[in-house]
Symmetry: C2
Subunit: 426 residues, 2 copies
């Protein structure tokens, strides 16, 4: 087993080191929501600070009930008994891959940790690209042929994983794609794991959102958490909605031996969050708006520089293709951006993309400010792009991209001499 530190977490730690060393680095490499904790959640954590006993493995009864209500309000009637909580949806996804077993179909590209988790549990991921222009769900027809081919070679394929909306592409799979994927999953008897941690951050709430669980509740697991919509990444809380008691039993067995349960005070705060009180709904609305506005501004900067980049529809990510620079694959382009222009992104290769493609993942959420005050100001501003620190970050990005374009499209003799490929972090 050859595993390395998660690419996103490794990049984050590398950038923090560079910054401490005095480098000016625009940090677009880390999927942290970049916003402060809502005071109501802090109050709930404080009020629960006396809770120190081991609670139920599945999570506190009230938390499971609140999470069930969250999904029920989204049209997915949910039994609290089929909810399981974990210290982050990452843990739950790991547990699911272990509980379901067999190989898993992933979208190419997809979040760095899916394939790494699959490797840890001894599952071999089958990478299938999304339909053209989409992201987050593999092309259903290609899933069918890939699974049949793998099975013909004696492999056991048990699941397919989708991310709605997607990290890294920022795209949302269409209802048509989800519909066809569900048909394929039924035909091939695959469990569908639907990672919907960015669901509440679809920028335009009129965008049609279809979960596989809407069509195939009998075979779909949904995972979500509060790391993105309420910026609680460091609190470590996620929830999963399971299709049946059998998978629940296997998940609880795994959870009880690996993590027991999320921190009890955090569970109390999460219970409150999943009931969706007005002040937290408002916080999510504001967050969604900020993420959308900034992601679109960053999109414009890449387009202006000449990159091909799909318009982001949710979350705080973009996935530009910098192939026009002719500067090598994603690892080389990432190094060039970081070392010469102080712009930190992640190479598409870390997401399982073709290493020779110059696609990189850009996370926009750490542009909102360095201090909690700046971030809170960004969140409440009617025009966040005009805030000096956000404007400066955007300018840093645009200048870097413009300079790079000029350098790379100038005659070849003026180019930087050495662009040796080096391993990515993770």
């Amino acid at each position: 087993m050859t595993v390395t530190l998660s690419a996103t977490l490794a990049a984050n730690e590398d950038i923090e080191r560079r910054r401490r060393a005095g480098e000016r680095v625009l940090h677009l490499a880390f999927g942290e929501a970049g916003l402060p904790v809502h005071p109501a959640l802090r109050h709930k954590l404080v009020a629960a600070s006396d809770l120190n006993g081991y609670g139920p493995v599945a999570g506190a009864a009230e938390l499971r009930k609140a999470a069930a209500g969250y999904w029920t309000r989204r049209g997915l009637v949910t039994e609290p008994d089929l909810v399981v909580c974990g210290p982050g949806s990452k843990s739950l996804l790991y547990g699911l891959l272990l509980a379901i077993g067999g190989d898993v179909v992933l979208t190419q590209p997809s979040w760095v940790s899916y394939a790494a988790q699959a490797d840890l549990v001894g599952s071999r991921p089958i990478m299938v690209p999304a339909p053209p222009g989409e992201g987050g769900a593999p092309d259903p027809d290609r899933v069918a042929s890939a699974v049949l081919h793998a099975r013909s070679q004696g492999r056991t394929v048990r699941s397919v994983l989708v991310t709605l909306p997607d990290n890294p592409t920022g795209r949302l799979a269409t209802p048509q794609t989800i519909g066809r994927l569900v048909e394929v999953a039924r035909e091939l008897d695959l469990t569908i794991i639907s990672d919907e941690i960015y669901r509440d951050l679809v920028h335009d709430t009129q965008t049609p959102f279809l979960s596989p669980a809407d069509l195939a509740p009998e075979r779909t697991v949904i995972t979500t958490g509060l790391s993105k919509s309420l910026a609680l990444g460091g609190w470590r809380i996620g929830v999963a909605r399971l299709p049946n008691q059998d998978l629940l039993g296997r998940m609880l067995a795994i959870a009880s031996e690996i993590w027991s349960a999320p921190a009890a005070p955090v569970q109390e705060a999460a219970t409150y969050a999943f009931t969706e009180p007005p002040e937290l709904v408002e916080r999510v609305v504001r967050s969604r708006r900020l993420h959308g506005v900034v992601a679109h501004a960053v999109h414009a900067a890449f387009v202006a520089a000449g990159a091909s980049v799909p318009l982001p529809q949710g979350g705080f990510y973009l996935y530009p293709d910098l192939g026009y620079l002719q500067a090598g694959g994603s690892v080389e382009v990432t190094k060039l951006l970081l070392n010469d222009h102080g712009i930190a992104v992640l190479p598409g290769q870390a997401f399982g993309d073709d290493p020779s493609a110059a696609r990189v993942r850009v996370a926009t959420s750490l542009m909102y400010g360095e201090s909690p005050e700046e971030r809170l100001t960004a969140l409440t501003s009617s025009d966040p792009l005009s805030l000096p620190w956000i404007a400066a970050n955007l300018e840093h990005l645009s200048t870097g991209l413009r300079t790079l374009s000029a350098q790379r499209t100038a005659p070849r003799r003026s180019r930087r001499a050495t662009l040796l490929p080096t391993p990515v972090h993770g």
Copy 2:
């Protein structure tokens, strides 16, 4: 893979259900410290409630430094860079088994989760009994022969795990045993995993305590946490002290894909705890005393009833042998105690012990009271056994054991007709 909910957690949930249904059950089946959070730790959690970002996978720098100080004060000079934190030492133990790979030697009996975790990572445990009268470390000579035998059959054996002091037996491996085990580990090139979560709860601080890391720092990992000494089980925080950067790198890779890091506010509180300020040192001293006094009283009750039971030396566990009842193996005896006498314990079988032996694990820490007030009173009392609720719990236990002994040692015709074996929870 056939996994079931952790035996201890399943038993706990079963007992809670019985109690809600009105049954009087003396809960001696769960290894929760049964004491309140110290206010200083609550204050630290509250002060850190604004921390919501993803921190470093290894844990916050200050926490790693504090944990290094904790070990250094115990004679084990520790580099903060070789400390890794996790959401409970359970998670860290799982990660270690995965990172080290191969099969693991466990003591028979040993904590329920070791063998279950080994199963999850595809490792086959090799169960070796402790030397007579001891617990927590396998007999070194038998380790040598068991490992050589396993290797002769083509198995890869990479580690041996000890628990100092032990759960379930409450015994502390002697320095002689640890010394010999270290020699064997060196000869066989085994990594030693030393679970020292009960270290600060050795009842008599004059009892000689030797960690394998004292003798073989180059091959020993120590894990500990705050669940036992400071009763923070529900907060989920553990730390590991690793022997080298290679294992650290593998652990971080695993941690980054399964749990990321412990909850950030909890890390802040743990940082304070590992600096061992006077009020927390005093809390641990009081806890240790209470655990010792009650465990010894429970020991006396079992001895009075006719059981053979080693004197507990640390933590809050005893491991009586009820074979004199001639009531079957540990599962049958456990059912008899629960169903007929309202005494909940765990069968030795859950700890990997011989199922035909009538040994059970008794956890004494939930006798301190039902309310935080009762528990705090127990903690500060100079004579906790005289507190009405603790006296009543001890009386319930003694009466049950006496009645059982009388029934079972009466002529066979008066005995309960059916004692069918049923599966244990986990």
